[in-house]
Symmetry: C2
Subunit: 244 residues, 2 copies
Amino acid sequence: MSNTSLSPTLEDYLEAIYQISLFNKVARSMEIADKLNVKRSSVTIALRSLADKGLINYQARSYVTLTDDGMNAARCVDKKHHILSDFFTNLLSMSEQDADKAACGMEHGMTAEVCKKMTALMKTINSDKSLSEKIKMAISQFEKEIGCKDDCGYKSLTISKVVDDQKDPLYDLNALKPGEHGIIERVLGSGELKKRLREMGVTHGQQILVERAAPLDDPIEIKVRNFHLSLRREEASLIMVKRV
Amino acid sequence: MSNTSLSPTLEDYLEAIYQISLFNKVARSMEIADKLNVKRSSVTIALRSLADKGLINYQARSYVTLTDDGMNAARCVDKKHHILSDFFTNLLSMSEQDADKAACGMEHGMTAEVCKKMTALMKTINSDKSLSEKIKMAISQFEKEIGCKDDCGYKSLTISKVVDDQKDPLYDLNALKPGEHGIIERVLGSGELKKRLREMGVTHGQQILVERAAPLDDPIEIKVRNFHLSLRREEASLIMVKRV
DNA sequence: GTATTTTGTTAGAAGATTCAAACTCAATTC
DNA sequence: GAATTGAGTTTGAATCTTCTAACAAAATAC
């Protein structure tokens, strides 16, 4: 009777039981095992778990039916599956088979809000043939353009929303131009090299000024704590700073 | 270096490393732990696993960077996340926060095909303001109609596509009208009752004919193997048949 | 009504993922 | 440089999911 939310795995079992029940009234271990491609022994364990949670009526060695709670939960999962499947086939023009497979993978993390909004979306689409045709055409057009750049259509898109910390990005010291100041945030590298840098005063929080760093200069010149230092480009690349 | 596909969990770790790296060049255990809300010790284990698979450069007690393979894999996950997030915010009008949460849950099962098609969809939508406005309006209209029937907008929808076996549905014997034939598929119940039914000839594969079953008849009359039997409605409900 | 086949269970084991607690090493402070 | 802080690791344990192999019960066949 616990009401912690179901694991994706248990949701799969529940959905399988639901779908089998629609045709056979009751579900048997074997059928569930076949549907989910697992062994019979795994089903036994999952059934015990679902029974514990009050979602199925289950007696050892007998058939399985859904309780009312189980029926509600199963319908909810099934609904998510359908709405995704509908979306994939009727708007994205995918084959039923591919749509089904993708829906299986995505249905579990689907929030109630997404479910509701996608339902509304698909009603909109399905009730206006000309609209849906227009979109489908446009999609297939863009799809040709995208081509097969790589396995998931990746194309160095602008990072628009990764920013969930507000921090400014870090740069390595080579990114600063002569005259620019930075605050040292990290010193990479390890062992001796790192120790040497630290001893020169290159430590967290220090302000740093790049004095000379023309494109061809290899040792570049910097100022830290009023000391003037020479660093090889290679070393400079280990010092991560925030621009000031 | 194995190329078995990543578990959702490891994908999450990879994505976190990617996002942290964008700002900090390198990722540290602590930061990953914070982002994913797990303990530092869990991160250590995950990092070892990612390093095994050749996706990250990792030395104990040092910072983490992505290998080329890791970068590709991470971009792929990240791309999925973004496309979903874009879809949720820009077409379904969800808040960034809710969109992000839902995307996290759904990105893992997303196939390459879905990713590509949704990219095309969002390009279509984003490049035609009037189209997207029209859809958004329609959605918000339908949303009001749907109201809050229940926690995922479920509304006994017609089951359109559950049928992945071709079997005809089963009915219990009470569903058959007088004169109809059925084939016995299952006999439910247990113990004595079930045994008795079997002894009367009610077994798998037998043809059955309902002879008399007016609405008020309680013992209904049936014929199996040329024997005429009387069954209580209660018993009849245990006999699952296919219509012939 | 016995024998065989099918179905379901148990037991034992393995891999993932996670945690708390103890420990180690590196970094910073004094 | 010694002491303290803190980040990262190890250890040991728990949960979940799955498997194989052996076993038990039920259903079917003979």
